[in-house]
Subunit: 182 residues, 2 copies
DNA sequence: TGGTACATGTAACATGTTACATGATTAG
DNA sequence: CTAATCATGTAACATGTTACATGTACCA
């Protein structure tokens, strides 16, 4: 029997459940910490996916604990579905980057407005890089040996460095003193 | 009167309409060509957004032409909404990258499966970079002077280069066991 | 005792994709 | 004539966010 295509969100929950039973709340916070920089999810979506996967037998809802906590347990079918997702469904689809839409349509914008958005976004990316660098230094100092965490962090650093270099090498007509047209 | 928040898709359509009246079909193909690498849209979504924006007075549906073509015209309100979107709503939200989810959860995967996904995705990104490089060379040869197109293409090149460098510098525990070369 | 963090869920809405239905025009 | 391309749209479904409702437990 073949399983439906899992969304990245659903698959990630199965992944986290390999470490042991977790509640929706737990999953949300662990996901935020580990993949929050590259994948966003909302609590309501987590609960919805857990309910759907429980219906399909990929996870099992455990008994209620204190504070109404309801831990979910990964089943063998869930484990199989996770590997199948990796083999089959991991998408390399378009990286959606709204700022690039602005730049591509920049000729239709007053120069100062375009410059303002670019400055705002450059600052955001600079802050992200600083945060990743800080986290990387911290991990190194703690002799954090987890290669998976290291690889994801390294991606963030390289990504943000590339973005900043792009900002700093924009054509002069965009970054500086171009005559406005429309 | 303040306008609803526009989606990136809707805003991009307003942007393209600055060049003159276009049909849904035209918008789809021009969007594909110019921002297709950083923003995906479907034809049915384009028609839906056009209908909604027509109701709101941001665009006006023109008269039917040959082949039932229905061109849309940008209104002053639409022009204003576009600039307002740039000032207010352009998001720098999370870059969603499913492969990073796989890597972050890599400890729960057989090494060969992880290696297979990585190889598959590396090839995709290598092909993209090759295509961007080709497009950049073509633009240079044609003395293509459009700085906006140049900036978006440059982003693609830098982005894909960074991704490939990341692939080639993965921790040895992930990439195989051979230490990364420089 | 009152605020904060924990915890689960539902409802409504926004956005996006795929599949389907329909027909016009052009190129071979 | 017929296949491909152009062109518009609807319907169904998938995914995602925000707002809301409800209640528990800790701690200052």
């Amino acid at each position: 029997m073949t399983i439906r295509n899992l969304s990245t969100t659903a698959a990630s929950l199965l992944g986290f459940l390999h470490s042991g039973p977790l509640t929706g709340w737990d999953l949300m916070s662990v996901a935020q910490q580990t993949i929050g920089a590259f994948w966003s999810l909302s609590l309501s979506q987590v609960y919805r996916e857990l309910a759907a996967m429980a219906r399909e037998g990929l996870v099992t809802a455990g008994e209620r604990e204190a504070r109404d906590r309801r831990p979910y347990v990964l089943t063998d079918a869930g484990r199989a579905a996770f590997v199948e997702w990796v083999d089959r469904d991991v998408e390399a689809g378009t990286i959606r980057f709204p700022l690039l839409v602005v730049v591509a349509l920049g000729r239709h914008l007053p120069a100062d407005r375009l410059a303002a958005v670019l400055a705002r976004h450059r600052a955001i990316h600079a802050a992200r890089l600083a945060e990743y660098d800080r986290a990387a230094a911290e991990a190194a100092a703690a002799h954090e040996p987890d290669p998976y965490a290291r690889a994801t962090l390294d991606f963030g650093v390289r990504q943000e460095r590339a973005v900043l270099e792009w900002f700093d090498n924009l054509p002069p007509e965009i970054s500086g003193d171009r005559p406005a047209e429309d």
